[in-house]
């Protein structure tokens, strides 16, 4: 999961308040079922009319309220530049790339402006000392700003129609410094698709930028993760990779491990909002053979609704297909992806025992 995606997920899941269940939810549901049954028995014709009405309501439901336009922030600071960390407090944790339209809303560089340097603030991953990877806030500055100033003074391109990709192209967070050290954030011109004009990125890419400071934000991958080769966290996909219809391939897992390739085992804690890595390792040959034999012998999935506390993920060290997920407790289900529709089978405590030790 990308850093931004992970941030959005945390933002949303963190917003859910403590929710209290009713004393007898099953009873409440039963009463709903009963009411519906009585309605169906007594008012069949009315139900038909309602169904038509609901269908129409559903179609209307696909449109939503208008979006509030962006309000740009301050564009200049008469005080001297300090650092990326201090110039925009609170943003170091959240990144510095800017929505293109927000960047374009700032006042453009005027003809009489005399910037002497540019400062760029950005959040980037970088290798950690001792292994792994971390996310850092990085401040870079560069004095040879002629091409960049020229690019920033370009007008917005006219909206001439034609196709535009819907991918997000944020603008960099950049400020221009004058000879007295004062700084301002100039507006960035947009192309016909409301993305930053390419000339700006090209000018920045061609500059000789010097890294002035780096502030660690958080560890993305620890040395232990690097050694194990596992992701740091995992998402419960058992809950999604079936649609309620009978799975025709249930219990007939085909080739869970690619022939001749090493298999990496990653074990995660399973929580409702994801799960953290517990341990990971490449399976020894004899253990791999035992696990593969157990997977191939697995039968059809049995009905079960328990929540697993630990999940094992098995995949080749060379690539992610196929990937095998095994619940190490709870329902002991097995799920294999990589051959089109996911395949499901029923594991057991013996298989979990093979996988549940580091």
């Amino acid at each position: 999961m990308a850093h931004e995606d992970e941030h959005i997920r945390l933002l949303l899941t963190g917003a859910v308040p403590p929710l209290t269940a009713p004393e007898d939810r099953v009873g409440e549901v039963g009463r709903r079922v009963g009411r519906r049954r009585r309605r169906l028995l007594g008012t069949g014709a009315l139900a038909l009319i309602l169904a038509v009405g609901l269908a129409a309501g559903g179609a209307r439901a696909l449109t939503g309220p208008p979006v509030t336009p962006v309000e740009p922030g301050a564009t200049a600071d008469p005080l001297g530049w300090t650092s990326c960390d201090e110039a925009v407090p609170g943003r170091s944790q959240d990144g510095f790339a800017v929505p293109a339209r927000e960047a374009a809303a700032f006042a453009r560089l005027t003809a009489d402006a005399r910037p002497v340097a540019v400062v760029i603030c950005e959040v980037v991953p970088q290798p950690r000392t001792g292994g792994g990877e971390e996310l850092v806030l990085r401040e870079r500055q560069g004095p040879d700003i002629g091409p960049l100033v020229t690019a920033l003074r370009l007008p917005d391109e006219p909206k001439t129609g034609g196709g535009c990709r819907t991918d997000l192209v944020p603008a960099p967070w950049l400020a221009m410094l004058d000879a007295e050290g004062r700084w301002t954030r100039p507006g960035i011109p947009l192309d016909r698709c409301d993305k930053p004009r390419g000339e700006v990125g090209t000018a920045i890419a061609a500059m000789r930028l010097t890294t002035m400071s780096v502030w660690p934000i958080r560890v993305v991958e620890s040395p232990e993760d690097t050694v194990s080769g596992c992701d740091r966290n995992w998402k419960d996909m058992f809950a999604w990779d079936a649609t309620g219809r009978p799975a025709p391939d249930s219990g007939t897992l085909a080739r869970p491990f690619p022939a001749g390739q090493e298999i990496r085992l990653c074990v995660f804690e399973a929580r409702q909002d994801g799960g953290d890595l517990v341990y990971g390792r490449v399976l020894a040959e004899d253990r791999r053979a035992a696990v593969e034999q157990a997977l191939l012998a697995a039968g059809p999935v049995a009905p079960c609704y328990e929540h697993a506390d630990r999940i094992a993920v098995l995949r080749s060290v060379q690539n992610n297909n196929p990937t095998t997920y095994v619940e190490l407790d709870g329902c002991y289900r097995i799920r294999v992806t990589g051959y089109g529709e996911p395949g499901f089978a029923q594991g057991d405590p013996a298989l979990a025992g093979l996988l549940g030790r580091s």
Binding site: H3, E4, D5, I8, L12, T13, G14, A15, V16, P17, P18, L19, T20, A21, P22, R25, V26, G27, V29, G30, R31, R32, V33, R36, R37, G53, L54, G57, G58, A61, L62, G64, P65, V67, T68, E71, Q93, D94, G95, F96, A97, V98, E102, T166, L168, P170, W173, M237, F238, A239, A242, T243, G244, P246, A247, S250, Q272, A302, H307, F344
Partner: protein, 172 residues
């Protein structure tokens, strides 16, 4: 004369509700932004599940069915029952250690989500909370992958532009 109907849940249903309702309710809250409506949405879906229990459990995946039903029910006809997207009363104010700051933060998210269309909101939750691919999101909602991409783009743009949500990490 029809016999009085006794609401006895089908075998396994009560265990399923006990094991999976919390997770489903969290998704329902993200869709509705209100604890009462989330419970109503969840019970609506569970009632549907009850009626189809035998068929669904034949495939062994009632949770997958319930999750899909949660989102499709919300997107397709939720509006008919709940015309106001933003409740007039502040919801979910609890005394369970929920500080004023935490309440303000989650209320900002709730209000930001409330400004999205139902489809956008469902797409955001499916893509970023449930971690589904564009393809799977389109399958769940019964729309095209292009619709998912476009609506996700518009939804994120709206969230990023929300003045109360200066929280997003922008990859440089």
């Amino acid at each position: 004369m029809p016999r009085p109907w006794k609401p006895t849940p089908p075998e396994g249903f009560a265990q399923f509700v006990a094991a999976r309702s919390d997770a489903l309710l969290r998704s329902a809250w993200l869709l509705t932004g209100d604890a009462g409506r989330a419970e109503d949405l969840l019970q609506t879906v569970l009632a549907d599940l009850w009626r189809r229990w035998d068929t669904i459990t034949t495939g062994g995946h009632p949770e997958a069915y319930a999750r899909k039903a949660l989102f499709t029910t919300y997107v397709s006809w939720w509006r008919r029952r709940w015309r106001m997207e933003i409740p007039s009363e502040p919801p979910d104010r609890t005394g369970n250690g929920d500080t004023a700051g935490e309440y303000a933060d989650r209320d900002a998210v709730r209000r930001a989500l409330a400004r999205l269309s139902r489809q956008q909101r469902a797409i955001v939750v499916l893509r970023y909370v449930e971690d589904l691919t564009v393809q799977r999101t389109a399958e769940v909602l019964g729309c095209s992958e292009n619709t998912v991409k476009v609506q996700a783009f518009r939804a994120l743009r709206a969230l990023r532009a929300d003045p109360n949500l200066e929280l997003f990490a922008w990859r440089s």
